[in-house]
Amino acid sequence: MNKRKNIFISIIFLLTISSTVFSGELVIKGSTTVLPIAQKAAEAYMAENPDVKISLSGGGSGNGIKAIIDGTADIGNASRFIKQKEVSMAGTKDVYPVPFRIALDAIVPVVNGKNSVNNLTIAQLKDIYLGKIKDWKQIGGTPGKIVVISRDSSSGTFGVWKELVMKDERVIPSALTVPSNGGIVQAVTTTPGAIGYVGLGYLTGGIKAVKVDGVEGSEQNTLNGSFPISRGLFMFTKGWPQGETMDFISFILSRKGQDLVKEAGSIPLF
């Protein structure tokens, strides 16, 4: 009886060891904006390295960075840079998050396809979202109430909008909030007086992209830095990455990886 038990334990022991020795496992968590990129990259990477297992999940930028600090993930995705609060939280746990910028993303203000407004300045956009500009005629459009549409306050896209357009002032409470990029497209398409903002990948038929300070929101203008509402997409690791984690990050930053970034609808770095 005892002998059998011993054999059983040693088998389990062997299994645990072998699984850590023979195959690498990567856990990636975080931003839903980075998720499509990570997914494409993970598929391609696993096809090249069959013994590596990558498990992917979303949960938002905040959760991604938190997972790095807690050690529950190898890579934490974020559609924004790390916040001061998070840096100090990492500090108390002796963790040094290392950022890798893996792609770019532009956020483009959009209006209904029938709207005559083509260009808005950052200051005008800010005043619209502050509720100071209420009618399209105040900014040279056909008279009509402006319907302000925003994203939920916890989304990464909203965070970037708040920082780059609102300069950390508050969007008026009467702004409609929509839970996704697709939701904004839907609402702006069906509402003639609406204004919203979406990621560059979501520009479609019924909506019209508005130039910001005279600059069109495009891949090229984001890369050369002239489009003002753009952001970097990041992968964070716990300390300088090693082994499988390093290989995966290098893969995303290679030519092949950056082609996948483009396929996923974001802007490659080169």
Binding site: G60, N63, V147, S153, P173, S174, Q186, T190, T191, G193
Partner: protein, 295 residues
């Protein structure tokens, strides 16, 4: 001996199952309070309930849910105005007036409406109804309180209708026949005999229908517009309590103030439905028709 054992076994088996669901539910409730109460270390209960601004991710953040509470209350109230008369009148028609063949066809259809997934109704409100009412009333935006209430009324009507139909149907025939015998018309009998006799069931139906509307998430998330402001008209966008929880929970950092605030909203919502159910319970006891002589 053996039969007694089986009997005992069955009895304790059922007890165990009953205990299991009750335990699970009370654990969820305890969890809700454990995760929600810490927010009151940061804001007072008064600030939380009566605060006008909901900016949970700002620094410093504002956790005032008055606009969200009013959003929920107004949407539920408006949907009640639409759904209660419709539901009750349909029920009376089906139980009293409709010929049996019509009732046999209509009743299952109404019950089928109850099983419509809420996400489908929400999507319908967002894609079809919103542009329609926006053009019809010539208002700036179709995602608003009216749209959400209409969709919620859609969901509440089947509940209200099928429960009140049961109540109306179970009014003793003797009461009806007595009324006819005294020379009352069918209409007089319905208004003066059938409705008072089935009032407890109808009240329960209304409360259950409304408590479904107050807790409904997907529809208000998709069709109400989601603006955290105190509504001034029925065409203003609103952000009811469940929509806030659903939209923000995924991105709220674990055990942050925002996270606790969302659970505290859950507590408020729980109290709402609890009060609704207590009222339903009270009414169903108060107006209960005991026997045929008590009318």
């Amino acid at each position: 001996m053996k039969r007694q054992h089986i009997d005992k076994g069955v009895r304790s088996g059922f007890l165990l199952i009953a205990l299991f669901s009750i335990t699970a539910l009370s654990l969820i409730m305890i969890f809700l309070f454990i995760e929600g109460l810490p927010i009151f270390d940061h804001v007072s209960i008064k600030e939380f309930i009566f605060g006008k601004y909901w900016y949970p991710t700002d620094d410093p953040a504002d956790f005032g849910i008055l606009a969200l509470i009013l959003g929920s209350v107004s949407v539920t109230f408006l949907s009640g105005i639409m759904a209660i008369p419709l539901g009750i009148m349909t029920a009376i028609y089906l139980a009293e007036i409709a010929p049996p063949t019509v009732a046999e066809i209509v009743k299952p259809i109404v019950e089928l409406m109850a099983s419509m997934p809420s996400v489908v109704i929400g999507f319908f409100g967002m894609v079809v109804v919103a542009p329609f009412i926006q053009k019809l009333f010539n208002i700036p935006v179709g995602l608003n309180m009216f749209n959400a209430s209409l969709m919620l009324a859609f969901m509440a009507v089947p509940t209200i209708c099928s429960i009140s139909e049961d109540a109306v149907f179970s009014v003793p025939t003797a009461l009806k026949e007595a009324s006819f015998a005294l020379g009352a018309t069918h209409f007089e009998t319905i208004v003066k005999i059938i409705i008072p006799a089935s009032l407890s069931g109808i009240c329960t139906a209304v409360i259950l229908g409304l408590s479904r509307a107050v807790g409904e998430t997907m529809v208000v998330l998709m069709a109400a517009g989601g603006a955290a402001m105190i509504p001034g008209s029925i065409f203003d966008p609103v952000r009811p309590l469940p929509a806030s929880i659903a939209a923000e929970m995924a991105e709220a950092p674990f055990r942050s103030e925002h996270y606790h605030a969302l659970f505290a909203i859950g507590i408020v919502l729980f109290l709402f439905t609890l009060i609704f159910n207590l009222i339903a319970d009270f009414l169903s006891h108060k107006f209960r028709q005991v026997g045929e002589a008590s009318l």
